[in-house]
């Protein structure tokens, strides 16, 4: 049996207009230590699947099983990096990580907790900024704090919800490396599930890519395997034939129309 398993899952919400099915017939098996991306258009239920693993929302049908046990709620065995950093603005960088460590790793002594926080601050190169508040650091740094916070509680599974969506391309590339570095430093033992809408990001980071259909009642359209060798290097990876092939494949799956022709211009003019 696989490490993280989603079985025939359906998630529906009660809305004013009645039952709204976000995702259905979701079946997914993830091995320990794998990096898996879920990709799709906005509103296709990517985050819903993520939340079901996090234990924040519950399946209306089927179940989610982690390490042999059904997920009943949030727990310190899963670390989450939220879409919008979600740092607490009144706490310093250090305190933001410390409070999470303090809550999740109750058995550690105070000194051990401090040591853990400082170790992860050094790993993401933020040790010198530990006394700053979130508003005093850049978006990229905030996301590094969020990643360090998720890693610091030493979870088995890391859940990343569009973690780099709000960042510019250069910062994003640097953070991809940062993420893989942390993953390597923990002996690639941590399973990472990431939601994204960035095709290049998904290929560069993942072992498998789950492509979603459009919602409502979204399903899994296809699962792509990525066999690019690790450690991956941005410059070399993007030129490999496999990378290009997967990129083409994903583009055609996600974007119906990849070019515009002359007629589109005339139409727009007529409309204006």
């Amino acid at each position: 049996m696989s490490y993280l398993k989603i079985e025939n899952m359906e998630i529906a919400f009660q809305s004013m207009k009645g039952k709204f099915v976000a995702v259905k017939d979701i079946n997914l098996d993830i091995e320990k230590g794998q990096i898996v991306s879920i990709i799709g258009h906005s509103g296709c239920g990517k985050s819903t699947i993520m939340n079901s693993i996090a234990g924040m929302t519950f399946p209306t049908k089927g179940r989610v099983i982690l390490n042999g046990g059904e997920i009943k709620g949030p727990g310190p065995d899963r670390g989450i990096v939220f879409q919008n950093y979600s740092l607490l603005p009144w706490l310093t960088v250090y305190e933001n990580i410390f409070q999470a460590v303090d809550a999740a790793l109750r058995d550690l002594s105070k000194a051990e907790k401090k040591e853990t926080v400082e170790r992860y601050l050094r790993m993401v190169n933020l040790f010198d900024h530990r006394e700053k508040y979130p508003k005093q650091i850049s978006g990229g740094m905030k996301q590094r704090v969020a990643i360090a916070r998720a890693f610091a509680i030493d979870p088995d599974v890391l859940l990343l919800d569009e973690p780099f969506g709000a960042l510019d391309a250069l910062t994003k590339a640097a953070l991809h490396i940062e993420l893989l570095k942390l993953w390597n430093l923990t002996q690639r033992s941590k399973t990472i599930v990431m939601v994204t809408h960035d095709i290049e990001e998904a290929i560069f980071l993942s072992d498998r890519i789950v492509v979603m259909n459009n919602g409502p009642a979204a399903t899994i359209r296809e699962i792509e395997e990525v066999h690019l060798p690790r450690p991956r290097n941005k410059k070399d990876t993007v030129n490999q034939p496999e990378y290009i092939a997967i990129r083409e494949r994903l583009l055609s799956l996600l974007i119906e129309k990849v070019s515009i022709d002359e007629k589109d211009f005339y139409k727009e003019e007529a409309a204006a």
């Binding site: 924040m56 949030p74 899963r78 989450i80 939220f82 409070q99 809550a103 508040y133 979130p134 508003k135």
Partner: protein
């Protein structure tokens, strides 16, 4: 203090043979200029008010005392604020201290009650549904209406005054606290959920830090209304206090004293408000 610092800096620059640092002084001068300007506006406003006051006292032929006569009385009052010639003749300072004491006690008790209940109302839908209708019905009632109940309950006019200040202080704090707590973003709640924050950690690291600016705003509004109500309350209760002083002055037919008291009440109210607005700025974090 400030003078000596400027002196030493100018001395050292002179000794170093540098050009006098005119540029470094400019921001300070600009700030000073701003202060003088705003003081100027205030002065213009009060001159206009005093002019109008003078005009009305002329038209009414002394029905309203003139500004000069009033300021003489005002000066008499503030010159010796702490004299005590028996129960019906005490200095304005003693009256103020007595009123401030009652307001503080009533406000403190009210806040100690309103903040926790506000937190409950904001955090828990059940509590909100139970308490909100009560708040809605009692909030529009003038706190003075509670005076008889205070009298019955405590059998003391002074305690009854504190009781109405207690009631007054409840509503703005209650409503603002509940609003602050209810508007904690899901993002913050999710962090607490995802990392398994205990109830206590959630309270001290998420709920209170987020709602504190709202709570302080509530307290600021409460103390403002409490200061409004104390004057009326003490007119009812008698004995001592700034409200009693206003009523007593009216009975002694000294409108000069009444107007002086109005000015003093206004100044104290302004100071209370400024104090809370200072705290408000201190606890407001920016994102």
């Amino acid at each position: 203090m400030k003078k000596s610092i400027t002196l030493t800096t100018s001395l050292t620059t002179d000794l170093a043979g540098d050009e006098p640092s005119v540029n470094r002084l400019t921001p300070a001068l600009a700030r000073l200029f701003e202060v003088i300007k705003s003081l100027g506006y205030t002065l213009v406003g009060f001159t206009l008010l005093t002019g109008l006051w003078f005009l009305i006292s002329k038209i009414t032929e002394g029905g309203l005392p003139t500004p000069v006569a009033t300021f003489q009385v005002f000066w008499e009052l503030v010159k010796d604020p702490f004299y005590d010639y028996g129960p019906n003749d005490k200095g304005i300072g003693l009256q103020l201290i007595s009123s401030l004491g009652r307001v503080s006690l009533g406000f403190l008790l009210g806040s100690l009650f309103a903040i926790p209940v506000g937190v409950l109302m904001g955090a828990n839908t059940f509590c909100k549904k139970v308490f909100y209708p009560i708040v809605q019905i009692l909030k529009p009632v003038s706190p003075l209406a509670w005076f008889p109940i205070g009298l019955v309950a405590f059998e003391s006019a002074s305690m009854a005054t504190i009781f109405i200040i207690f009631i007054t202080s409840l509503w703005p704090t209650l409503i603002n606290t509940a609003f602050g707590v209810a508007s904690i973003p899901d993002d913050h709640k999710n962090v607490a959920k995802a990392f398994g924050f205990s109830k206590w950690k959630y309270l001290t690291k998420v709920l209170i830090p987020f709602s504190l600016p709202h709570i302080i705003t509530g307290l600021r509004l409460s103390i403002g209304v409490a200061w409004l109500v104390i004057v009326a309350g003490e007119m009812l209760s008698g004995g001592i206090g700034i409200g009693f002083f206003v009523w007593d002055s009216w009975n002694a037919l000294s409108l000069e004293k009444v107007i002086s008291a109005i000015l003093i009440i206004g100044l104290v109210g302004l100071l209370l408000d400024r104090g809370f607005s200072f705290v408000e700025k201190k606890v407001t974090y920016s994102i």
